[in-house]
Symmetry: C2
Subunit: 466 residues, 2 copies
Amino acid sequence: MANLNPIDIFIPEIRQLVADKNLGELQGLLREINPIDLADGFSRLPPEQWMLILRLLPASKLMSVFEELDNDKQEYVLEHLDDQHLLPLVDGVAPQLVAKMLTRLAPNTVKKMSNYLQRGKRENIPQLTECSPECAGALMRTTYLPLRPEMTARRALEQLQAILRVRDETTADTLYVTDTHGHLLGELSLRSLIASPPDLRIRDLMNPAALIKIPATMDQEEAAKLFSKYKLLSAPVVDAENRLVGLLSASDMIKVLQQEATEDIQKLGAVETLDEPYFKVAFSRMIQKRATWLCALFVGETITAAAMGFFEKEIEKAVVLALFIPLIISSGGNSGSQAATLIVRALALKEVTFTDWLRVMRRELLSGLSLGAILGVIGFGVVITRATLFHIYGPHPILLATTVGISLVLIVMWGTLTGSLLPIFLRRMGLDPATASAPFVATLVDVTGLVIYFGTALLLLRGTLL
Amino acid sequence: MANLNPIDIFIPEIRQLVADKNLGELQGLLREINPIDLADGFSRLPPEQWMLILRLLPASKLMSVFEELDNDKQEYVLEHLDDQHLLPLVDGVAPQLVAKMLTRLAPNTVKKMSNYLQRGKRENIPQLTECSPECAGALMRTTYLPLRPEMTARRALEQLQAILRVRDETTADTLYVTDTHGHLLGELSLRSLIASPPDLRIRDLMNPAALIKIPATMDQEEAAKLFSKYKLLSAPVVDAENRLVGLLSASDMIKVLQQEATEDIQKLGAVETLDEPYFKVAFSRMIQKRATWLCALFVGETITAAAMGFFEKEIEKAVVLALFIPLIISSGGNSGSQAATLIVRALALKEVTFTDWLRVMRRELLSGLSLGAILGVIGFGVVITRATLFHIYGPHPILLATTVGISLVLIVMWGTLTGSLLPIFLRRMGLDPATASAPFVATLVDVTGLVIYFGTALLLLRGTLL
């Protein structure tokens, strides 16, 4: 199923109908195709046919298809679409897209487009391009009908019907009430409006206070979290003066949440965010994004070689000690990766904040002790068992096993503590907690792990093995 | 902001109004509080006051608050709520919740509840408890008004108004059309309905085919991906015979996507899914979920000690070789973690599927070669530089540096290939690709990394250092 795109079924039929110039039937067929699938199919049709198809679509569907197209295809469409279809298109798409298009298009196309922009929208665009592309305002829709508090339900419904008959507003299931200056006063679901006694005033129908508003400058991720927490399907976007400037929809927020999760996952795997699907990222770009972290980690890890050099004499005396190095440092790294992952996700979901650092520390100290004790006991057992069975590991197996066991307890505690507190302090310093990736934490813990291991060995084995 | 819960402001006021028995004003205040915040606040109010508050809420808000409560609080409410409020509550909540409640409540409460269940819903419940709690059907709402194709728009609107006046349907922004047997025929937005000429028939207004339907047995994650791909705000749920059995809403899907991302992130960090927020998981449970993987990895990593034992003679001859072990095996682990993370996420987002394995392999072979070459050159440089500056690393620095450099190329290639293909084959075998966590891949690569390193050393250094 994953590989079968629904559009695959329609493409041959579309080609045939275009060849036959059977526009009536083509229009009927297009009605049946989901706009997102249709946009998928454009890459398999020649550009002239795109224009033919787009002109057969109703305005709202034209907009949905357009928004799904690649940048290049969008440009082509804007340059070639006739004025009659350009108007609703430019008017309906998100201001972010308009702003992005304005910077990339040929001057006369920009001029043509600007003429079509609603006054309110034209005013919004410079303001919105100032806010970062990560801000909520960049994703909002600007087509909506604000209601006035003094309207009756009947009047509001009539006005809405009149507008809907001209163009299909895609995000009008919740209506927002503003005063004459555009200040947001309340919200009202289309359902309540329909069910209301026609003579009641909007003021008495609207829900004034429980309203969740999104400042246009709020980070998209924050906005998405409000959608998640309050199970919103849509939310009003306001400027600094509480004026309604647009709407956000849950379907846009789903994309935001998925992108954020992808970014966090990639960072946790020590890859800089790819920003594009795996197969679409240019090879050189992907190598660069992976090499950056890999080199940084490598340089960090060269310290282990230096640390090991410091203990070269001890290794010469007791080569047996070297055998457990990978086992011991990787246990520190693994426990650190676990703790870091848990805390990074908990921070992202706001289950944990900076002020919780002491609680986290207490909990992780105890976790580290417990986990370290478990691994320490296993490690002790493994060394003793192998020494007994195979007569390896030299003349002092119990001392060696004790060294391994105690080192494991200490290193796992240290790894757990580092892994859990590092993301919290990264957040505190304004950095991304997800930078505390499993490989990063492992590298940090490797160096200290060696020091802990050889320190323990020097204490316990002096006079025997060392 | 993260720590200030909006309900904090309202709690003292609620307490005061309850103490004053000022129910009128309390009702007004409750109207202003978001149901999710209100449910948050219940833990800070005594149970008697919950009942007082719930009875003052309109049915739809009562339902929203109820759904947000903990299991214990839900039980208390069901046992103590009067019949007048129980009816819309039991009728409105998701069948999953009803099914869960039925298994946990006192027999006479179950009996009382069953009496209130709509016939259709009662029939659905046994069927739905058979489907896993992970299936789409378990999340769906069952309150909706199916339209018939032969209805006029006017009649449909009137019927909807009549129902909305009795109870506020929370998921009715899209309407679904069924035949008399309940088979799904099409959908129609509430917006199109109100904008339609009143005498048109639903058959001519509805959107018949572009409809995205969710089988009740579909995995919630799959359903959420359809919501994401097609930017849905709601979708109809159908049984195996294409009969409409419920609705899903984008707000529920957001939760599903976040949970799935959390699961993947935790698995990638080698923690079994916690299922609860960090501070809410019982300590013993968290230790168990972390210890499982940590022990498994530890046992796997003990093989490195055995592998090192195999090369003990070589280490004795050239201790200098041991110094680079952490550096070299961690580079393999890091490159493997990167590749695994990228592919696990790409699989989750369906950017990559099993059939792409050959393409992935080619791309990752090339990536591994490029990344390995970069690290190999740096590694070679580091060894030469340190040897020259500090006169360490013995009599054959160039040979040693070459050994380190070549080992790095091979190990990074191996790590990258293992990390990228392992998740694909895990998926193929029906296992979760996210099992290929950074620590798991690192452990796998550590053992083979040692073999590659000492193998290269034996080839290059025989007769000189070895």
